[in-house]
């Protein structure tokens, strides 16, 4: 077990975990507010990857050359479009089901997920798509004297960590210190009471969906920059893993989503580095099952009280 390989796996795991954390925010907040698993969230992430690819190619076509402007414009477009997706999905598929038994919106969400996959596949074709590599290069850190004994953090990985941290801090501020965030927290604690106190809970729920979609879109943007390719099916596995992260950290808790994401990212990265790459998805799913069965309240969540 070489030190530099271990360090490299830690870096990869941390970066992956940041991505999971960003997507987990959407699961966590939605579950916190209306107690439903937004099964289509992974596919919203997938849509944002496509929007990233399309925006980048349109920007290249329009002749935008400066990398910084390209990235900023693309990120804003992706956030806007994916946010609209989040709003529309909630409005069309989930709002009419408010107050129905718990499994009804879940089945509806599975329908939305199938729809989004088929819709993207039909309009963009079944083959994987890609973008031109951007920001190549890396910071390298040497361990000892050997030529091969280094680990590296690519520029894009640095960008991922910075943007993810900035988004998380922004979100924490939004939830903790603004009146919108106060309404969100109130709705999460007791929707009925919040309504009585004059909070438009439907609007808050819509906002939460938009926030979730926007953070997933940031993740989709960053992942697309990092890996450069995407297809219509990427949302499923990433979605399940991000959900695992949300539950691991404690569903409904914002710091929990980040913590769970980073923890899962590290575990998965170490597992694929030292044990098996083929079974890394199976490993993540096992973590999901173990957490759901033995500690469904997660690390930072409050245990659910069963009301009779």
């Amino acid at each position: 077990m070489d030190g530099h390989i271990f360090a490299q796996q830690l870096v990869n795991g941390l970066v992956l975990g940041m991505i999971y954390g960003l997507i987990a925010v959407g699961y966590s907040m939605v579950y916190g507010v209306i107690g439903m698993i937004n099964f289509a969230h992974g596919d919203v992430y997938m849509v944002s990857a496509y929007i990233t690819g399309i925006t980048l190619s349109v920007l290249a076509f329009m002749g935008v050359q400066v990398v910084l402007w390209t990235l900023i414009i693309a990120l804003l477009v992706v956030m806007l479009v994916t946010g609209v997706y989040g709003w529309v999905i909630e409005r069309v598929a989930y709002r009419p089901l408010r107050g129905s038994p718990k499994l009804t919106p879940l089945i509806s969400a599975i329908g939305v997920s199938l729809f989004l996959q088929a819709y993207v596949q039909l309009s963009q074709g079944p083959n994987p798509q890609g973008i031109k590599p951007m920001l190549s290069g890396a910071f390298r850190f040497w361990f000892g004297s050997g030529e091969e004994q280094f680990f590296q953090i690519t520029y894009i990985q640095t960008l991922i960590v910075l943007v993810a941290m900035a988004s998380m801090l922004g979100l924490a501020y939004l939830i903790g210190y603004t009146s919108l965030g106060r309404s969100c927290r109130a709705t999460q604690q007791d929707p009925k009471m919040a309504t009585l106190l004059g909070i438009d809970t439907n609007r808050i729920i819509s906002t939460v969906f938009v926030i979730g979609a926007v953070s997933a879109s940031i993740a989709g943007f960053l992942v697309t920059l990092n890996y450069g390719s995407f297809d219509f099916y990427i949302g499923f596995v990433v979605g399940v893993k991000a959900f695992t992260a949300a539950v691991l950290g404690g569903i409904g808790s914002l710091p929990g989503a980040l913590l769970g994401g980073v923890l899962l990212g590290l575990l998965e990265s170490l597992f694929s580095g030292y044990i098996s790459t083929d079974y890394k998805d199976a490993f993540s799913f096992s973590v999901l099952i173990l957490v759901l069965v033995f500690k469904p309240s997660g690390l930072l969540g409050r245990p659910a009280v069963e009301k009779v």
Partner: protein, 437 residues
């Protein structure tokens, strides 16, 4: 359309302010539809370039806007309001009770339907496409019946049902390769194996409820699929492995016998028909499905079936009445799994080989769609939905690409308008003949 209905019901025409609201709504709908459909359908990526196609999103946005306008104005007419209220009232009433007379009527209808289903493949004896489609539809009926026990009757949302299907199919293939098992021994043993696995899953998830349960079962199904994909030395990985064809008392249905005996057609003195294998599978499957239907119907009358449905309605109340939720949940999981395992054997034998791509999450979602569309808990509904969902895409071949898209939309619409499914559950009851009163 809106004017027509409002005039026929003496309703005042919409005032200017209403028109303004309607127009504003249409405007926002159009903008949102444009943002949603614009980039994905309007700019198709091709390598690092893109192909613009502005007609598609424009058409979609206009359709959505017009649809919403029509819907909103139709919603304002008293005719639709009445209809909606009536359908909501009907929907809110619980499952209806079946009288003895209705039961007799149903019996005749279903006997005729069963006869037609049995005879149909013999009519198309030379058309392998029809026979194969019918066989596949029957496999989905069996799967639907199995999942219906878990989801429809016991109310446990299982998103990993395909795992048991995979276990059944791979049991036949692996058993043939490593232990020399044939179709019949696999058919007898796979339900036991699948039920054991179902019991294991059920035991693990006893403590989880509702949507967490759904996600755990989803993870379980995916793990099974990933193991089948990656365990190259055992299962052949993504390339799959062969599965044996069925035999009748050791007689094979191939043109020339592989194992040295006489093939079935020579034994009977018939000319060779390549569809014989599928016909035979269909007959066996038909019998299994018929047995299964009778069995599920009987189970629903028995304390076990009633306990499933009671548990679905209220777990806490069940416990307080002395029903053991452990036994009830485990039995539902095991019986569902057993049916899935049986269906897997038929599928593997029908296809002649198995590989993991037949057992993705989409398959679970399709079986779930069958149960949901058929009406959770309704046996007739499940059968009808299985036939519709598997045969309709075959009939509408040009639209086959839109199948999944349509499934997704249907699932959402069903949850909004008919959460109890197209055919509502009928609860079997005992009635005492009037002469004995």
């Amino acid at each position: 359309m809106s004017e027509l209905h409002s005039s026929s019901h003496n309703q005042a025409a919409p005032s200017t302010s209403q028109w303004r609201v309607l127009l504003r709504d249409a405007f926002f709908t159009f903008i949102l539809a444009w943002i949603v459909f614009g980039p994905i359908t309007g700019l198709q990526l091709a390598g690092l370039e893109f192909i613009p196609n502005w007609q598609r999103p424009l058409l979609l946005a206009i359709t959505v806007t017009l649809g919403r306008l029509l819907f909103l104005s139709a919603l304002n007419t008293s005719w639709l309001k009445e209809r909606l209220a009536r359908s909501a009232a009907k929907e809110s009433r619980a499952a209806t009770v079946q009288s003895a007379q209705e039961w007799r009527k149903w019996l005749v209808v279903s006997a005729v339907a069963a006869l037609v289903a049995f005879v149909l493949p013999f009519v198309f004896v030379d058309n392998s496409y029809v026979i194969k489609s019918l066989l596949l539809a029957m496999i989905y009926v069996l799967l639907g019946l199995g999942l219906n026990i878990v989801v429809g009757l016991a109310g446990l949302l299982d998103l990993g049902f395909v795992a048991f299907y995979a276990v059944g199919a791979y049991f036949l293939a692996l058993g043939a390769q490593y232990w020399g098992l044939g179709f019949w021994s696999a058919l007898a043993l796979s339900p036991l194996l699948a039920a054991a696995l179902g019991g294991l899953l059920g035991f693990t998830v006893l403590r989880t409820h509702g949507d967490y349960l759904a996600i755990v079962t989803l993870g379980f199904g995916e793990i099974i699929r990933l193991v089948l994909t990656n365990w190259l030395s055992l299962t052949g990985g993504p390339n799959g492995m062969p599965a044996p064809a069925p035999t009748l008392f050791g007689l094979e249905f191939s043109r020339v016998s592989k194992f040295g005996g006489t093939p079935f057609h020579e034994f009977m003195g018939w000319s060779y028909n390549p569809n014989m294998k599928f016909l035979f599978l269909y007959v066996v499957l038909f019998l299994v499905v018929a047995l299964m239907i009778a069995w599920v119907y009987r189970l629903r009358l028995m304390p076990m079936g009633r306990a499933w449905e009671a548990l679905r309605e209220d777990e806490v109340a069940c416990r307080s009445l002395g029903i053991n939720p452990v036994v009830v949940k485990l039995s539902a999981f095991m019986m569902g799994a057993m049916t899935g395992g049986l269906a897997g054997v038929f599928f593997a034998s029908y296809q002649g080989f198995v590989n993991p791509t037949s057992f993705t999450f989409f398959e679970s979602a399709l079986i779930l769609a069958i149960v949901v569309l058929g009406g959770l808990g309704s046996i007739v509904g499940v059968i009808v939905a299985a036939f519709v969902l598997t045969l309709l895409p075959e009939l509408l071949r040009e639209f086959a690409d839109y199948r999944i898209l349509a499934f997704g939309i249907l699932m959402v619409l069903m949850m909004i308008w008919r959460p109890r499914g197209l055919i509502r559950t009928r609860r079997p009851v005992f009635t005492i003949p009037e002469s004995k009163l």
